[in-house]
Amino acid sequence: MRASVLLLAVVLLGAVGCESVRPWERDVLARTDMAWDPDPLESALEKHIEFSKEGSLDGGAAGGGGCGCN
């Protein structure tokens, strides 16, 4: 739990200390390897395996389904 509070502090400090990036400076941010999920099928499969084989909730947005009983 202490680690989580520390992480939150880092996130907030990071957000406060950030520089504003202008639209024409977004070339690096637009790279595919900067995406949150560069390979959507891989992310979908990983999420389904974690949902079927582990005990905690995934962190993604709404959606997904299936049994995963086995």
């Binding site: 520089e19 099928l41 499969l45 582990e54 993604g60 389904g65």
Partner: protein
């Protein structure tokens, strides 16, 4: 007359689309300095500089296919009950995804998955032969052959400063049917440096267990409803750094037990019984930074999971995306996961609990896991299409002594697996 007007309108729309595309490409590939022009050489390649997020309408159609083989390790002889099956699940997975722009401001996506599964699965856990021995796993006797088909349709409306999307999906097995719906919205501020998102979704599931004549304690038909809510924010921290944090809450209501598992209570195998409600929270934070000189991008993810069954989980993920010779990418990654046990879980029970709950499912047990993965991807252009081919291998191992906290008794059914995938993407 009206036909000519319609043709003129369509031509004007196509011209508008071309102008927008040209402007975007100009912005994405414009070198700012000589050094930058050299170090970002990969960006000039078509496709490598495409969208990192769904913040603007898609300009091209994209189709993805992936084939994966998931193979669980056989149970160690010391962990299996004498005479029990030891081979576990093998799954073949085919996935297909297609996304396309519709007009200037809409995008549609279709995702399909088909899995065929075979093998035995954990059934119940019994105490060891003597009190000094660890408990052992009894597997399902017969090999299960099963298939699952999943389809998901998404529609997205692109607004000037955000998106609105809706999705609906269905998952079908011979004994299970799930239908889900979801709505998500994104709003950008501060010259698109800050994005706030929210989503709401629901899943409506029905299970009709098989072989109820052989196993009369299995229910004939049960239902479950799941509702979730997510809130998130992402922030650009610099020209090569970005962070995202999101919270998700989920309420599950209905039949949450596993009809195919049993729990050993006072030496008698009894049905798996869990509460009929579960409240789960997760908090996910993701960080991305690109090291221009090294041509590599760092991905760091952390997830905290908490629920009212008593499971607390931590997940750390670290990945490095190395671009080589402009067209090849090597992606090593590492994932660590640890969870505590559900309050009512036990490998077996000396006597019944006062609340009547019981489950010896390894997924509710305390353990930790490591996953190592290596992926290689290559980009090439042929038949006027842009292709991405990739291959990956992952090894996942779980054990009680990998958990953050100390664990007294390991569940013998913990899973370890290999996952091998090949994928192909075409853009046109």
């Amino acid at each position: 007359m009206s036909r000519r007007r319609a043709q003129n309108k369509a031509a004007a729309r196509r011209a508008r689309q071309r102008r927008r595309q040209a402007k975007r490409l100009e912005r994405q590939t414009q070198p700012r300095t000589f050094l930058h022009a050299i170090t970002s050489g990969a960006l000039a390649l078509p496709g490598l500089a495409d969208r990192a997020s769904a913040e603007s309408a898609p300009l091209e159609m994209r189709a993805d296919y992936k084939y994966s083989q998931y193979s669980e390790d056989s149970l160690d002889s010391g962990k299996a009950a004498p005479g029990s099956e030891r081979d576990r699940y093998e799954i073949d997975i085919h996935q297909f995804r297609f996304e396309a722009p519709v007009g200037d401001r809409w995008g549609v996506g279709l995702e399909l998955a088909h899995e065929t599964m075979t093998g035995a699965t954990p059934w119940y856990v019994t105490p060891g032969a003597t009190p000094a021995d660890d408990p052992v796993q009894v597997m399902t006797g017969a090999t299960i052959d099963e298939a699952r088909t999943d389809a998901m349709l998404t529609g997205t409306r692109y607004l000037d400063r955000g998106t609105l999307s809706g999705s609906t999906g269905v998952s079908i097995e011979n004994d299970y049917l799930a239908v889900n719906l979801g709505v998500n919205g994104e709003r950008q501020f501060n010259e698109k440096n800050t994005t706030v998102s929210a989503g709401i979704g629901g899943s409506f599931d029905q299970i009709e267990p098989v072989d109820t004549d052989l196993f009369p304690t299995r229910p004939d038909k049960e239902n479950k409803q799941t509702y979730n809510l997510s809130l998130g924010a992402s922030q650009v921290l610099g020209r090569a750094t970005t962070i995202q944090s999101s919270l998700k809450y989920q309420l599950s209501d209905g039949f949450l037990s596993d009809p195919y598992k049993l729990a050993f209570v006072a030496n008698i195998p009894e049905t798996d019984e869990r509460p009929d409600q579960r409240h789960q929270f997760s908090w996910l934070t993701r960080f991305r930074h690109h090291f221009t000189r090294m041509g590599g991008t760092l991905h760091l993810d952390y997830k905290l999971g908490v629920d009212d069954w008593g499971i607390n989980a931590h997940e750390f993920e670290l990945a490095w995306y190395q671009t080589l010779f402009e067209r090849i990418r090597l992606i090593p990654s590492l994932r660590y996961y640890s969870q505590s046990q559900a309050d009512f879980y036990a490998p077996f029970y000396v006597g019944p609990r006062s609340d009547g709950y019981r489950s010896s499912d390894y997924r509710l047990s305390p353990y930790g896991a490591f996953a190592y993965r290596l992926k290689a991807a290559a980009r090439f252009q042929t038949w006027q299409l842009l292709w991405d081919a990739n291959v990956s291998f992952e090894r996942y191992e779980s054990a009680s002594d990998l958990a953050i906290q100390s664990v007294e008794v390991e569940n013998p059914g913990l899973v370890s697996y290999n996952l091998f995938s090949v994928g192909l993407t075409a853009r046109f």
